[in-house]
Symmetry: C2
Subunit: 353 residues, 2 copies
Amino acid sequence: MSAPTVYDVAERSGVSIATVSRVYRNPDSVRAQTRDRVLEAARVLGYVPSENARGLASRTTGVLGLCFPDYSDPDAEAEADDTSDDSAVMLYSDQIIRGMERAARRHGYALLIAASLKGGPESLVAKVAGRVDGFAVLARTVPTEDLEVISRRLPVVMLAGPREIDHLDHIEVANSDGERELTRHLIRDHGLRGLVFVGGEKDSPDAEARFRGFRDACAEAGLPVPDEPDLRAAMMTQAEGERAAETLLDRADREGGRPQAMLFANDQMAIGALHALERRGVRVPEDIAVAGFDGIPLSRMVRPALTTVRQPIRRLGEEAVELLVQRLAEPTREPVSLMLPVSVTRRASCGCG
Amino acid sequence: MSAPTVYDVAERSGVSIATVSRVYRNPDSVRAQTRDRVLEAARVLGYVPSENARGLASRTTGVLGLCFPDYSDPDAEAEADDTSDDSAVMLYSDQIIRGMERAARRHGYALLIAASLKGGPESLVAKVAGRVDGFAVLARTVPTEDLEVISRRLPVVMLAGPREIDHLDHIEVANSDGERELTRHLIRDHGLRGLVFVGGEKDSPDAEARFRGFRDACAEAGLPVPDEPDLRAAMMTQAEGERAAETLLDRADREGGRPQAMLFANDQMAIGALHALERRGVRVPEDIAVAGFDGIPLSRMVRPALTTVRQPIRRLGEEAVELLVQRLAEPTREPVSLMLPVSVTRRASCGCG
DNA sequence: GCCTAGGGTGAATGCGCTTTCATGACACAC
DNA sequence: GTGTGTCATGAAAGCGCATTCACCCTAGGC
């Protein structure tokens, strides 16, 4: 554990530390014979260059970072249990990590990942930021003002959510477009009319964007255009989805006119609704169509399989790296805002397949 | 992108750099009023401490690392396609990453991940090693001699595979025990007798350990004990599994006496075999039982569902971090070698469920 | 034989921070 | 009033490396 340095290697091989450094940074600039002596000494001593020192001296690290929130995700755990196959199911973060890792590897970067420890010191971002050449942040992981500060120092790309800081690179998925297309499908291809939408809280930009897509499609079709979702769930969890479905059924029983389709701002809720409907003896899709959003793996496994909109999450990670690499190469380039396309996945719960 | 430093902050707030440093490292040692001045200056300037410099000066990084091989894994990609749900399925590496990330987060560490770029410079390990407080290596990612060298400098834990260097911490899964128990189940609970085992190459320690478990169970039951697997596959892929199954069937046709059960050193091969058997019109499990090893997600989805042995891969990652943290706290502790228990998953392909 | 290029090497400096160690300013007790 | 602690801060010395810049040596041209 002693940690030999360039000085040790230099001494042992009878050269200066400059030469040792060159052997690693620019081998061709050193005579072969000298190089071999140095490498041999390094081997014997167990020398490994300190990337910290190297980074300090050369102002570049070869590492990209990712910060994501501490969703110590009870839902996800539960989901894993549902499928009775622990850890077989990829989470959102897993997929982004995989995407970034692949892309980073292609470009010769390593990847540093850190989740904000809820209640921990706010140091997280700083810790990452001080250690990488650039990094990606999932929406709402880091206070906007911190980002503002840090982005003056190195490239940052924001993932998902709205573009909070307009001089940053930014990638989101086409929430609104996706929901619009999904809704169109229900209206046009299945001839459904009484559509209700279950959203999230107002401060969830994704949920709001999806609602907008829903409204747009209603407007297009000449259907009544709601100002607000028919219901807002606080948590967007499966349990809340069940509750929402029951509330809507009760409301319909009281007021008459059961809806022909329930659209949910995410798959979790839609799946909860599926359960609730089954309990109530309401058949899906015969009596009512159900649709979600996200395309989580579970959506394919439930019965009936859930019609949804699939997000290219892994690509989100890959594109993030591409953007970082580009900006590193050309720091003055104009900020970019990408919107990744999503695709409607038609399955049994809307009457397809 | 200017990158303000302690000097800038110190100047602007009228203190020395030492005080700026203390504000971040040990806030209580600075008078509140001074501290506020410094923080304000930092905010205005957009100062973020350089973790590189900090690491250099304090010889500690707060980062743990993971190196894994570049299996740019055609099988895995194919598997994802099979389930027609891109990137829904977790790979081995994803699961380890998830486990390590969770555990690292608990202990306040960030995680640096790097896959060895095949054909790239061998610098990978050095890059990671020079940047972390300790790291985990998947078996056969890094040449033993490199590890030997690096482990003199910082804690290293080896994951999976045999213990190549005996002064390193090491975690493996109970390959042999698992296969033994699986084999016992086939022999004892299903009364099977003619068992064949399809292994991997001799230099695959996992496959060999599994074969030993198979032998042990045969010996216990008083069945003939083979010296070698009935067949060795070069790649342990699905395609090789198909081929293996066909070879074994052909051999049986020539020599008479079709086996009652085929055991494969991993799930991939077993799943390939399932396909081959179906093509040949051999019913599973009525005519022949099939079993794999690993418990990959696909094993649950094929028909008949595959009996296998599930590895706690995610826990492997978690335990790795625990070991690193422990060793960091107590560098002189005796090297540890853990063996994680596995569990036999009985499904349709052996006649259960 | 002298001069010139150019490649190989070393000395020295600085990257941004942590960390003694020393200093100064006070508060308190004698 | 002098002495003794305490607390807040500054000065300075590295941490391990990359990188000029200057230097020397050798090979080639004349």
